[in-house]
Amino acid sequence: MRAKSPYPYWFFLPAAVIFVGLFLVPTVASFYFSLTYWDPFEARFAGWDNYVQFFSEPFLVRGTLNTLMFAFVTSLLKTVLGLLLAVLLTSGMFAQGFLRSVVFFPVLVSTIGVGILFQELMHPTQGAINVGLEAIGIDGPGWLTNPSLALFSVALVDVWRGVGLATLIYIAGLSTIAPDYYEAARIDGATRWQLFWRVTVPLVRPATTTVVILSLIGGLRLFDLVWAMTRGGPGFSSDVLASVIYKQYQAGFWGLSTAGNVILFLLIALIVAPLAWWLNRKELDA
């Protein structure tokens, strides 16, 4: 049985009005409008046509695979690098506080700004990266113009931008581990390697859960960085679900883009809900 709330019902009213008006109604309305051809002037009922069209969209398969790959690669890198950086930055090294803020700084910068900056840096002939590579005799690739490299370049920038947040969460996680565990392990003769794998990694699992889920959701719904850096190009090679949906909206296919958003919503729910359940269960077992 649930504990009775200490607040009277009217206390919930303002929040309920905001929730219903700004979240519940639009969510339900979007399910309806995804079944129509609509524009600001009228809505014609279309049945499942928009969904059929969306799934037969030739670029959608590519966009979905790109989205999954992007989310997987970036959350893996953010988790691994975030943990390593956090271990480094809690080791009591020189200028630790300053270095922590340096790692966190990219998180504070506007994503669009980061995107435009790296678009300049990654220019194939005049960008700082390739000019630098040329100086040491390496012929740099077209980071954003080579179709098989473009998405990967965007992913690297996303990791650079987002790893600071993962590090911060890990630093908080590491600080909750009582020093006694390390002491006990050391008395038992554990090596540094064993300390890391047997003590640190299992005990920061709550932080890992948070980092994985946040970066996975972030990766699945990523839009701004892709749009600022490549607009899904060249061609469709770095398109992700969100940019495919945005292009449908831009083209005036409002029903189709609404259907795409419903699909994105379901996809994120399908991936994240079981993952969250699984990660949290392990946490209880541990």
Binding site: P40, F41, Q53, G233, P234, G235, Q250
Partner: protein, 424 residues
């Protein structure tokens, strides 16, 4: 008696007040430097003749972001009295018969050329817009000094064009063809500007295409544009940084002769005039050549127009303003504001004696009977949004012409269904 006196006085006062009060007309234009300059010049001239009418000009972004602003403001009744928007297929998406005021009854209506009115009308012959600029051509901007230096002639068929490219590649280190895929829309020109050649071979293509009876992929004449783009890529004639260069880079390259041919619309001329004024006469223009020199002509784009939104308070003044734009005086004001950019679509308008080289190169096509044809987007309401990505793929060697044309045919079906066209 007293009541009547009071009410009459009140009425007189009200009349007096409205007669003396200045009327303000609101105007929404896109934010490009030319359109703002034109709107400012036209409204200033109108206010000079009608001192009680003043204007307030709002600007909006261009491109699809601007499309959505215009659609939303029309749908919510928040549109300005007069606004600037594209003619052709984009206008049809605004549902002009429900949102705009027809202007067939303005005094100078017959001065607007039919070739323009048919791109801003609905199926009931209601016409909605007055052209806000000159007609434009789609083809090749080219670097004249390089042509003179190498002794090349302006090509009138595709083989001659490719032979010129070969000569340029051999004898200079300039890029024979400039492509700028950072701005993806620029990649469509070789396909879209080929439409004169398409309709020369398949006169009924536009209607059959709208009726879902003809496809790009299965019509050889229509496939040529995609094929030419593929051929140009495979010949290696593009500038080295074609994937990362943008529109402004393209204009710089053709003005300074870093590249020789830039497939583009002539609306680029004012930008060249502004950024490279001393190079303006180094840039010439010719239509995109087709298979045969016998059928060489220009694909024409129509300018944006001024429209009147329904439900405004100042419709009569707005009509009078549009009537003013549709005069030779209106044309001269535009020429003064942004220079001569092409032929006007108002009867009797003339260009000054000295015009930029590229404009002078374009005019003979218009003066020759059958020398021009409108681009497909003025003949058919369907244009697929993914064309610019597909042409980037063909132009970057990611996809071949045939496969791109097939995907484009699938893409346009979305537009046809959104518009609710029959037979789709």
């Amino acid at each position: 008696m007293t009541t009547r006196l009071i009410s009459t006085t009140a009425m007189l006062l009200a009349l007096g007040a409205s007669g003396a009060a200045a009327q303000e007309l609101t105007l929404l234009v896109d934010n490009s430097a030319d359109t703002v300059a034109i709107a400012e010049a036209l409204t200033a001239a109108y206010t000079e003749q009608n001192p009680d009418v003043s204007f307030s000009i709002e600007v909006r972004p261009g491109g699809s972001e601007g499309d959505n602003i215009v659609k939303t403001r029309l749908a919510t009744g928040e549109m300005t009295d007069v606004f600037l928007y594209n003619s052709g297929s984009l206008l049809q998406a605004l549902r002009p018969d429900r949102t705009l005021v027809p202007i067939n009854d303005i005094a100078n209506f017959d001065q607007i050329l039919d070739s323009f009115t048919q791109t801003v009308s609905d199926d009931q012959q209601n016409v909605y817009g007055v052209p806000a600029q000159t007609a434009m051509g789609g083809g090749m901007l080219y670097h004249v000094p390089t042509y003179e230096e190498l002794g090349l002639e302006v090509p009138t068929n595709w083989d001659d064009f490719m032979a010129n490219n070969a000569a340029i590649a051999e004898q200079t280190d300039k890029a024979p063809i400039i492509q700028t895929y950072q701005d993806t829309w620029t990649s469509q020109l070789l396909v879209l500007a080929d439409y004169y050649n398409v309709q020369a071979e398949e006169p009924g293509f536009a209607d059959a295409y709208t009726a879902n009876e003809a496809k790009y992929a299965s019509t050889p004449a229509a496939m040529e544009g995609f094929g030419r783009l593929q051929e140009a890529y495979e010949s290696g004639y593009f500038n080295e940084d074609f994937g990362a260069a943008n529109y402004d880079d393209g204009l710089r390259m053709v003005a300074n002769g870093e590249g020789v041919h830039y497939p583009m619309l002539t609306f680029a001329i004012p930008a060249i005039q502004q950024n490279y004024p001393d190079k303006l006469d180094d840039v010439g223009f010719f239509a995109q050549p087709g298979d045969s020199s016998d059928e060489n002509g220009l694909t024409v784009w129509m300018p944006a127009a001024y429209y009147i939104a329904r439900g405004g308070d100042n419709i009569d003044i707005a009509k009078d303003f549009l009537n003013f734009v549709a005069t030779t005086e209106g044309c001269d004001i535009i020429t003064e504001a942004v220079g001569a950019t092409g032929p006007y679509l108002i009867d009797g308008c003339t260009l000054p004696d000295s015009v930029p080289t590229s404009v002078a190169d374009m005019m003979p096509y218009f003066q020759r009977e059958g020398g021009t044809a409108p681009a497909l987007e003025y003949l058919s309401p369907i244009k697929g949004p993914a064309l610019e990505q597909l042409t980037v793929e063909v132009g970057s060697g990611i996809r071949d012409a045939q496969s791109a044309a097939e995907l484009y045919d699938a893409d346009v079906s979305k537009q046809a269904r959104q518009l609710g066209l029959p037979n789709w």
